[in-house]
């Protein structure tokens, strides 16, 4: 199996999951097992790609050319490979969790739900392996459209409204800004290929680079940079498995992944640091980090709080790119992995609480930890990782980002990152403390955990947060080639 076939399989197998779900719509057990098998195969193929390719960046495979210089092409590079591993690996867990959640909650339209889910994963694979901006954009849009039915899933007026906001902002920014930026880049440089060191050098001036970067930064709406972040809280009307995988991992990570790709492979960090084109972006990201954390504190709805937390955490990655230094970029890359595992744990815990008790607000969850110890313990671990405390994975990405800030002499940014960690403590830990130590109106004396398929996946990802602390060095070494200019 050559690499191109393998890459195509990672895109096509999940997409095939759409068909199998629709065809087997009336046989739930067969249908869901089929999807599980497809998820396992996809993950296995991604691992094969990893073992064959390692962190080599050299290869590029053109599928076909649409216009001269504009092709559907793929490559394997460390950042994308890491993203593919995370998304396909967590898909397996989320699928199990999703089965438990959808059945436990007696939601409707399972087949449509899992079908959309599968095609979304396929497009994430396309994003991860895209070797030029056009291919990436193609899958970026497919991802937006395929996740729309998931957000609108419940079909209530509220869900439809949320889905409209979701689609409106994501399609609006991507066509209104990103597409313009892409065509403009193509007109200026004649290529859209992701190239180490960037393609702008010598072809684009400093002012022009700033404008282009702005079009990209706001055009990549999935990165939820303020003021285009509203879609993320709006998308929380979706069932929790969607919020967990798509809005903590796949969709938002596709956004910041694109942001890193643009910064590293289109502009080039040398070019950004030389022209200072990204300085404003750094400040905006810092603002997003703090402002979203402050908003998060005010939210009583658990999923809304987590959504704002995500907005804040995503801006860490944008900040890492905007620092325009290799440590910052690596920190951003690492943050993609760490935040994914941490945040999916938190979302799955929120879903677990909902399945067991149908409670959505933090104020109702006082004392609940006694009834659901595993869920709350997993939440605690995930929260610590998001905050960035050792011995959990999240501590390393924060560490690298701070080192990157120190590297460029941006002392204020170090302050921002520290302040954000404190804010994280303020909005994540009260739930755990209330859950375990306070007594609420209801007294919980007996164990009342959610079904196995609902509490087990978050317990597993919480354990993952712990593991990542020890493997962070390996991931960093794996990612290192992306900032080395040949």
């Amino acid at each position: 199996m050559d690499l191109l076939t393998a890459i195509l399989l990672t895109i096509l197998i999940p997409s095939f999951g759409m068909l199998s779900n629709l065809v087997l719509r009336d046989q739930p057990n067969l249908r869901d097992s089929m999807t599980l098998v497809l998820a396992l195969i996809t993950f296995a193929i991604v691992l094969v790609i990893l073992s064959v390719n390692g962190n080599d960046i050299s290869g590029q495979f053109t599928l076909f050319e649409i216009l001269p210089g504009l092709s559907i092409a793929f490559h394997v590079e460390p950042l994308g490979l890491m993203f593919a591993i995370i998304a396909s690996g967590l898909w397996i867990l989320t699928h199990l969790y999703g089965i438990g959640y959808m059945r436990g909650n007696a939601e409707d339209n399972h087949a449509r739900f899992f079908a959309s889910f599968a095609i979304a994963i396929g497009s994430v694979m396309g994003i991860a392996f895209a070797s030029n901006m056009f291919t990436l954009f193609l899958f970026y849009e497919i991802l937006t459209i395929s996740t729309y039915p998931l957000v609108a899933h419940k079909g209530t007026p509220e869900a439809i409204k949320g889905a409209r906001t979701y689609l409106g902002i994501l399609i609006g920014t991507s066509i209104g800004f990103q597409l313009v930026a892409i065509i403009w880049t193509w007109t200026l440089t004649g290529t859209l290929d992701f190239t180490r060191g960037g393609i702008m050098e010598g072809k684009v001036g400093a002012t022009m680079a700033t404008i282009l970067l702005a079009l990209y930064a706001f055009g990549i709406g999935k990165a939820a940079l303020m003021p285009f972040h509203r879609w993320l809280p709006a998308a929380m009307v979706a069932p929790t498995p969607v919020s967990a995988l798509l809005h903590a991992v796949a969709v938002v990570k596709a956004g910041v992944f694109t942001m890193l790709k643009v910064g590293v492979y289109l502009f080039g960090i040398e070019f950004l640091s030389k022209t200072g084109a990204s300085e404003w972006l750094m400040w905006l990201a810092a603002f997003s980090i703090i402002a979203a954390s402050v908003v998060a504190i005010t939210k009583d709805n658990l999923k809304a709080r987590l959504a704002y937390s995500t907005i804040s955490q995503l801006s860490y990655i944008t900040l890492g790119m905007a620092l325009a230094t290799s440590l910052g970029v690596l920190g951003g890359g690492l943050q993609i992995a760490m935040h994914a595992v941490g945040k999916i744990t938190l979302f799955m815990c929120a879903g677990s609480i909902y399945v067991a008790t149908h409670k959505t607000n933090i104020s109702q969850m006082t004392g609940l930890g006694r009834a659901m110890p595993i869920t709350f313990a997993a939440f605690f671990v995930g929260a610590l990782s998001i905050i960035g405390l050792p011995p959990l994975g999240g501590s390393w990405s924060k560490f690298l980002l701070m080192a990157g800030a120190a590297d460029t002499g941006q002392w204020i940014m170090i302050g921002v990152l520290m302040a954000s960690s404190l804010l994280n403590v303020a909005y994540l830990l009260p739930l755990v403390a209330k859950g375990f130590f306070l007594k609420g109106d209801e007294l919980y004396t007996t164990r009342a955990e959610s079904p196995f398929l609902v509490w087990f996946p978050p317990a597993l990802t919480a354990f993952g947060c712990l593991l990542l602390f020890f493997y962070a060095g390996a991931i960093q070494a794996f990612l290192a080639p992306i900032v080395v200019i040949p």
Binding site: I66, P149, A152, R164, I171, G176, I183
Partner: protein
């Protein structure tokens, strides 16, 4: 003259292709009436249309390299005799028109059977064939007056076709009447324009006109001729604000007619406009430059926004699509107004891409009309479940209408934005993408109705017949296919645009 006659006698059938293109449907039309057998009406029409599709494909293959075929009708040498001239630009349009006609006819049988009384079928297909003849004739002819003649043939048959919608909704009669008045004014303006040009040059052959005009100094007669021709054709194109006939005509015509007109009639009119603006007159003609920059460009932009905006508020899917067509015509005019090779490529490629996309959408409308009794949002509510195939085709074609990457609509938009940036008109580029966001809104309104709304009483209960679903899907898949494989479309469009820009003819 004697030697001419000898060469004429030994012409092979390949050399007769240009005249066969028009002659086949033209002869088939009266044949239907003479035979008068209702069961034969559809098969014969289908046969004639399929033959003209094959002919057009053969013609396109001959001229795609940039060569030109000149055919003398009846052996009379131009400029006195009528000349048929085929180059990349019109071969492309001929192919589009006959391909859509064939596709529509495959779809028509079930839809016509449901919408038009049986005793009218023969006459309906006759009118359809005449309309096809007219559109092909307008496109292929190299004679300005002949353009007028064929334009009238297609228009008169179109009025009849639209009025056939009266069996479902009497308002089709007033819609047809409106179009009759507007269309006749347009045709009259056009013929007056031709008259002025004849006065100034003494010729009616397009190539000859071009040559004589290029050596003439600017005169008031020529300007008046230009203005009359542009306004006359503008009515047919439905350039904003000459579009008023279009929404009613498309809405009340029988479904089959809407598909055919939306995908071909305005496209042919755009082609005629291109022919007059770039072949007969040259862009160097100062008056034309000003017309393009100060009239066509602003109106194109207004159409893109105003018509899209109106489309958002329509409660009838069919009418929504009609307004969307006006907006899309704006894109094509914009490409012309850029006055560059890339701009013209965008116009021509969008002409094709939009043709297939709109064909798919209007075909779906016909399917809803058949199964759900209409295409209002209330009729189609929840049809995503009861008519899954038709509705999925609407989603695909709808994405192409928006211009999502991976669809034909994206290719057009890409080339168009590129043409704007090439000129340094970046505000126009931003307007182009901004207006496609309006398309997102009106397309999504339909998708929400299809998939999220609760079905009402009397909505669709089952999928449309296969004879309708398959052509719809062919058009929908074509709008994906041409989003990836741009070899044929873009190559032909570029050849056509270069031919027009260099004034090869």
């Amino acid at each position: 003259m004697a030697s001419e006659a000898i060469t004429y006698a030994t012409m092979t059938w390949q050399e007769q292709l240009p005249v066969l293109q028009v002659l086949v449907p033209f002869v088939a039309a009266p044949l239907l009436v003479t035979i008068g057998h209702k069961g034969l009406a559809w098969p014969l029409t289908m046969l004639a249309s399929a033959i003209s599709l094959i002919v057009s494909a053969l013609l396109l293959a001959q001229v795609i390299d940039g060569s030109v075929i000149s055919y003398r009708l009846g052996g009379w040498a131009p400029p006195l005799g009528i000349e048929y001239r085929v180059d990349a630009a019109n071969a492309f349009v001929l192919f589009l028109v006959s391909a859509i006609a064939t596709l529509v006819l495959a779809y028509a049988r079930a839809s016509v059977a449901a919408e038009i009384p049986r005793e009218k079928h023969t006459l309906f297909y006759t009118a359809f064939l005449l309309c096809l003849t007219g559109l092909l004739g307008v496109t292929i002819t190299g004679d300005a007056f002949n353009v007028f003649v064929f334009l009238e043939i297609s228009s008169l048959s179109t009025y009849v076709l639209i009025a056939e919608g009266a069996h479902r909704d009497k308002r089709a009669l007033t819609a047809a009447y409106d179009y009759l008045i507007m269309g006749t004014i347009g045709a009259t303006f056009f013929v007056i324009g031709i008259g002025f040009l004849y006065m100034a040059t003494g010729t009616l052959n397009i190539a000859d006109l071009a040559e004589r005009l290029s050596t003439q100094t600017d005169s008031r007669t020529v300007r008046a001729g230009f203005a009359f021709v542009v306004v006359g054709i503008g009515l047919k194109v439905a350039i904003y604000p000459l579009h008023l006939w279009l929404p009613r005509a498309y809405t009340f015509a029988p479904s089959v007619v809407s598909v055919f007109l939306a995908a071909t009639a305005t496209k042919v009119a755009i082609y005629v406009l291109l022919r007059f603006m770039f072949t007969v007159f040259k862009p160097a003609f100062l008056f034309e430059l000003q017309t393009l920059e100060f009239i066509i460009l602003p109106f194109a932009v207004i159409a893109m926004f105003a018509a899209s905006f109106i489309a958002i508020f329509q409660s009838d899917f069919k009418r929504l699509l009609a307004y969307s067509s006006i907006a899309q015509i704006g894109y094509m005019l914009l490409g012309i107004a850029f006055l560059s090779s890339t701009g013209l490529t965008a116009t021509i490629v969008h002409l094709f891409n939009h043709g297939i996309t709109k064909a798919a959408l209007f075909m779906a409308v016909g399917a809803y009309a058949l199964r759900a009794g209409g295409s209002f949002m209330d009729n189609i509510a929840g049809a995503g479940r009861t008519m899954p195939w038709t509705s999925a085709a609407v989603v695909i074609a709808g994405l192409s209408l928006i211009g999502v990457p991976g669809t034909a609509g994206f290719i057009s938009k890409w080339v168009l934005v590129q043409a704007a940036l090439e000129k340094g008109w970046w505000p126009v580029a931003i307007l182009i993408v901004a207006s496609s966001l309006l398309a997102v809104i009106y397309v999504w309104k339909v998708i929400e109705a299809l998939y999220l709304a609760k079905p009402l009483e009397g909505g669709a209960t089952r999928e449309a017949p296969l004879s309708m679903v398959i052509p719809t899907w062919i058009a929908a898949l074509a709008s994906i296919w041409f989003g990836f494989s741009t070899g044929v479309t873009l190559e032909a469009a570029e050849a056509a645009a270069n031919g027009l820009m260099n004034g090869v003819r």
